[in-house]
Amino acid sequence: MSDIAVRVENLGKCYQIGQAKSGDFRQSFGSWMDKLRGRGGEQIAESKEFWALKDVSFEIKKGEAVGIIGRNGAGKSTLLKILSRITEPTKGRFEINGRVSSLLEVGTGFHPELSGRENIFLNGTILGMKRREIKAKFDEIVAFSGVEKFIDTPVKHYSSGMKVRLAFSVAAHLEPEILIIDEVLAVGDAEFQKKCLGKMDEVSKSGGRTVLFVSHNMAAVEGLCARGILLGEGRVSKIGSSIEVITSYLSVNENYEANLSKRVSTGSKRVIFTQMQVLNEEVEFKIVEGCFQVPFYSNIKFILQLKKIEAGGILYFAITLRDISGVKIVTFDNLYSNTGIHMNDRGNVQVVECFCEKLPLNPGNYTVDLWCSDGYETFHNIENACSLEIVANNFYSTGKMHTREKHGFLNIINTWKAANTEH
């Protein structure tokens, strides 16, 4: 018996675009008639192929926890859908040794009219548990969810938080040999998320189970998974230790999109960021693979270009730097200091700048989030708008340098002298 849990070979998935997904009769009948008349060729030329996944190969050993990361549209979800057999691959093959449970969402099949108790059975069965298995674990599931009091109340009367807790509790008590999880931790409150992460950690470490985990939460991937797979445009762009893969995900910024308005973002978009530059005084820092190379302790100037769609008046901004696990390190903003910037021209391109003297971050990779608001409504919020690599230099003129891992994020200049009294 091999120790391979999942083996994927040259997996590919092709979607037809520009063609109706579920057509109507006329269309099918038309193309069928065309085929009869020998005009099939045209039809094929019209619809375009889109490879959501191409030539993906990897192996996962038993008991390994592997994080799959990548930008939106990189093919993560398609890969999980294929591995959990929801959809079939167009090319290639995969084999899975062991009982699989896939959690692409929590609470699949939950029915609002049914009670919590009934939904536990319903959802558990949908996830592939047997009735007696659920019965045996029922009390445990209820206790973990913390909704004991309402277990016989229809789920439609639950708060959304309660629903998620109940749903996750069922999922957390699955005992598959291989667990496939998609981004399900994006829901629920922080405390419950922590509890779930703990439970998953327990599952993968003590249970010796294989876990495949897709997430945008780099801290979770780093904490949970020893190995990582980075997908980019449907292909595997890196396989390695999770730290390596996360670092390359955050710094490489595959298909770095300089145009910020095209980035995946949130907010009402009444004002949008269009471009940003990171300058050292007046000169832009060198960009290596979409990552600004900022020497340690540099003066740094962020120049943000904005376009107003409709809103005018006073605008507030925030620039937040995070480390590679997504932990916020520092925020530069003009909201708390009440120093909003007055903008008046409708529709015009506007530029604001933020200057920070002697950025005291230790060498390492950081990402930059942008936020814009009128103080009430978020207009535009872009996570990971760009990344910075703080590059070690000879700051102390000693050839020695602090590092993020050893000394922490910040370097605050300090002086030392002898303070003992002289004799």
């Binding site: 997904k21 099918s28 093959r93 899975i96 699949t108 996830l127 592939g128």
Partner: protein, 275 residues
């Protein structure tokens, strides 16, 4: 050791009935869910399951029994009608429910794997409740009219099975077709309405056989339920044995059922992509 292999180049078209059997818990609980939810928050609740057939039976009796005076061969009309209605309404129920079943369950279909056949199958299980209520009506009417069924009754299980299989055959076909062509959402109500007239529920099958040319009768029996309802009634009430035309229906049921399973399997592959 459980092993799953999926290969895009080596697809085999097997029905994989064993896997379906492994998911029996799922289709039972889905049926349970449908039943629980069906009369949730209604004032009359489960009473509705009795009211609907009672009202239909009343109308049939007044219109076809009293006004049109359909020739039932001496059998009291309500008893005659309920035999046809019980089989037909199960068929109609499964058709109505399973046609839209996959679309109704698309959130599940897109998020988790299970043999998709479980969905229309569970609808057939839900229909058993109404089927049983139909039999309850039948039993009560038999007592009222002091009717004792003849030896034909041994064939009843066969016709019950045929009713279920034909309902499933058409239901599974429709559920698979509806995913691709939403047109069938509009076809199903029409089929059910049309089928009620084209099935010997309110009148005996002889009316059709005696008054129409052979080719028309054969077309009539292309309705799978035509033969089934005829046989169903014969096994309970006796009378003339099903005509040879009924075999057209029976053969069609077999063909429809097997082809339904294979067509469904074929569509199942792309179900999550096109639903």
């Amino acid at each position: 050791m459980h092993k799953t292999v999926v290969d895009a180049d080596k697809r085999k078209l097997s029905l994989n009935l064993r896997e379906l059997f492994n998911y029996r818990d799922l289709f039972l609980i889905l049926a349970y869910r449908d039943l629980r939810v069906r009369y949730a928050q209604t004032f009359l609740g489960f009473l509705w399951a009795f009211l609907q057939p009672a009202a239909t039976l009343l109308i049939f009796t007044v219109v076809f029994g009293k006004a049109v005076k359909v020739d039932t061969g001496g059998v009291p009309y309500p008893l005659f009608a309920i035999t046809g209605m019980t089989a037909w309404s199960y068929f109609a129920f499964v058709l109505n429910q399973s046609g839209n079943s996959i679309i109704g369950a698309q959130e599940m279909v897109k998020k988790i794997y299970f043999p998709r056949l479980v969905i229309p199958l569970s609808k057939a299980v839900v229909g058993f409740v109404d089927f049983a209520i139909g039999f309850l009506f039948l039993a009560v009417l038999m007592v009222i009219y002091k009717f004792v069924p003849g030896p034909n009754i041994v064939y009843l299980p066969v016709f019950i099975l045929l009713t279920i299989i034909s309902a499933l055959a058409v239901g599974v076909w429709l559920s698979a077709l509806t995913i691709r062509y939403r047109d069938f959402q509009h076809v199903v109500p029409f089929l059910v309405q049309f089928g009620l007239y084209a099935t010997p529920t309110a009148y005996p099958a002889e009316t059709i056989i005696n008054n129409l040319p052979d080719w028309a009768v054969i077309i009539y029996y292309l309705n799978p339920m035509a033969g089934v309802v005829e046989g169903f009634r014969w096994s309970i009430l006796g009378g003339a044995a099903p005509s040879e035309f009924a075999y057209v229906s029976f053969a069609l049921i077999g063909i429809l059922f097997v082809s339904a399973l294979f067509y469904f399997r074929k569509v199942e592959r792309v179900m999550a992509d096109i639903v």
